[in-house]
């Protein structure tokens, strides 16, 4: 946990900004193109959720360095309406916006670790980690 940078999400184009920064960081860590695409897609989903449901929030990046492994942690934070039933949004095909309903369960499959904390009326924080192998 040495380095941290954040992108504020306010407009739709901020999603692209977050994605590009995440892709740059993951390239520097040494991820291959497939994992870069996975990470960029996960960031895109998380940032889009902030834009769609909370309006504003931010996405932060951390480089992780353990004894023998490296990785990236992405934290998406907002102070939006929160999620009522987390197990429901983690089901494939559940959507409130008419989308595909694959966003959050998809992110979980794209990344190695997935952690979600949400309180109704206070906001949501999602932490995901991808390890380099």
């Amino acid at each position: 946990m040495d380095f941290q940078s954040c992108v504020n999400i306010q407009k739709e184009w901020d999603i692209v900004g977050a994605r590009q920064l995440g892709r740059d960081i993951s390239r520097k860590i040494g991820f291959g193109t497939v994992d870069q695409a996975r990470i960029a897609t996960a960031i895109s989903e998380l940032a889009r959720n902030i834009y769609l449901y909370a309006g504003t929030g931010k996405v932060c990046f951390e480089t992780l360095e353990d004894m023998n492994k490296k990785g990236i942690r992405i934290v998406a934070m907002d102070e939006g309406p929160g999620i009522q039933d987390i197990s429901q949004v983690m089901e494939d095909g559940f959507t409130t916006s008419g989308g595909l309903g694959a966003g959050l369960p998809g992110v979980k499959r794209l990344m190695d670790e997935f952690d979600i904390i949400s309180h109704v009326g206070e906001g949501t924080e999602i932490k995901v980690v991808k390890w380099l192998r």
Binding site: R38, A40, T41, S44, G99, L100, G103, G106, L110
Partner: protein
């Protein structure tokens, strides 16, 4: 008082201009204008200071100022040249007036400052407005240009149309893609439409959702849609996300997609090389004679 200060400045305009030119020249050493020729720089400085004086004299912003700033914008001079120049002018004039006055107390000092600000600030505001106006104009032109490029539809053959997509797809563009696709299919009487996503950097659920909807809409009006240009990493993320693209055919490259489009419209590519060889032989034999 106002008139008196103004007259002092106008009477000694030559001194002020010289001081100003010296200061601005010193500025030049360490910044942006180093690539501009001496002569050009000097002429512009002279013109700039004349414009400043004429607007002080007339007690208002002159059209000279607009002409001058417009020309500098067109030549690509940075805004900081003008704002720096105005700050230097403010300092020089204040110094000059203070030296001229016999009594210096805080009331007198603040009055001078206020008066000089009254000359300088409107000019700075006008210049900044001119510059930002020109930037906004450029941005809006580029937005229009980008929109024209965002969802092109190319009829390559009878009944076969291609839509190559390059770059990020946002909701506005997705809407445009859908409209252009449906309009184009009707207009070109297309049987098969190829959507090429080789240049789309990330396919997330939103992008996939829009593509699926577009393909479904194309199916409703009686044509077929083939998604081509799916790179390996995109294929993997689509599978990871759990997106079902099984409803319409997909291909890895535009070339393969085009071949199956030909098959769908009962056509195929025929090699004419054997004919070419015959002609070459004929030409060779003619050369021999």
């Amino acid at each position: 008082m106002d008139e008196r200060l103004k007259n002092v400045v106008l009477e000694h305009s030559d001194d002020i201009v010289n001081m100003w030119l010296k200061e601005v020249d010193a500025h030049k050493k360490n910044d942006y204008t180093s690539t501009i020729s001496e002569e050009m720089f000097e002429n512009t400085n002279r013109e700039f200071v004349n414009v400043i004086f004429s607007s002080i004299e007339k007690q208002g912003l002159s059209s000279d100022l607009d002409d001058f700033s417009e020309r500098l914008i067109n030549l690509g001079w940075p805004l900081s040249y003008l704002t720096d120049g105005m700050q230097v002018f403010r300092r020089v004039v204040t110094d000059f007036i203070l030296k001229q006055s016999e009594k210096v107390n805080s009331d007198h000092f603040s009055e001078i400052l206020r008066e000089v600000d009254g000359w300088v600030d409107p000019i700075i505001n006008r210049l900044v407005n001119e510059y930002s106006g020109s930037w906004e104009h450029i941005v809006s032109l580029q937005r229009v240009a980008l929109q024209e490029l965002s969802a092109p539809l190319i009829p390559v053959m009878d009944n076969i149309t291609i839509m190559p997509l390059i770059g990020t797809i946002d909701t506005e563009r997705a809407k445009l893609i859908m409209e252009n696709l449906l309009d184009g299919v009707i207009k070109h009487n297309a049987e098969v439409v190829l959507i090429d996503i080789t240049g789309v950097p990330v396919v997330d659920t939103m992008v996939a959702h829009h593509i699926i909807q577009a393909a479904e809409a194309v199916r409703l009006i009686g044509s077929r849609c083939i998604l081509v240009g799916i790179r390996p990493e995109i294929a993997q993320t689509i599978v990871n996300l759990g997106i079902d693209l099984g409803k319409f055919p997909t291909k890895s490259s535009l070339r393969k997609g085009f071949q199956s489009a030909l098959e769908l419209t009962n056509r195929r590519i025929e090699d004419t090389r054997s004919n070419d060889q015959d002609i070459e032989k004929l030409i060779d034999s003619l050369d021999g004679e």
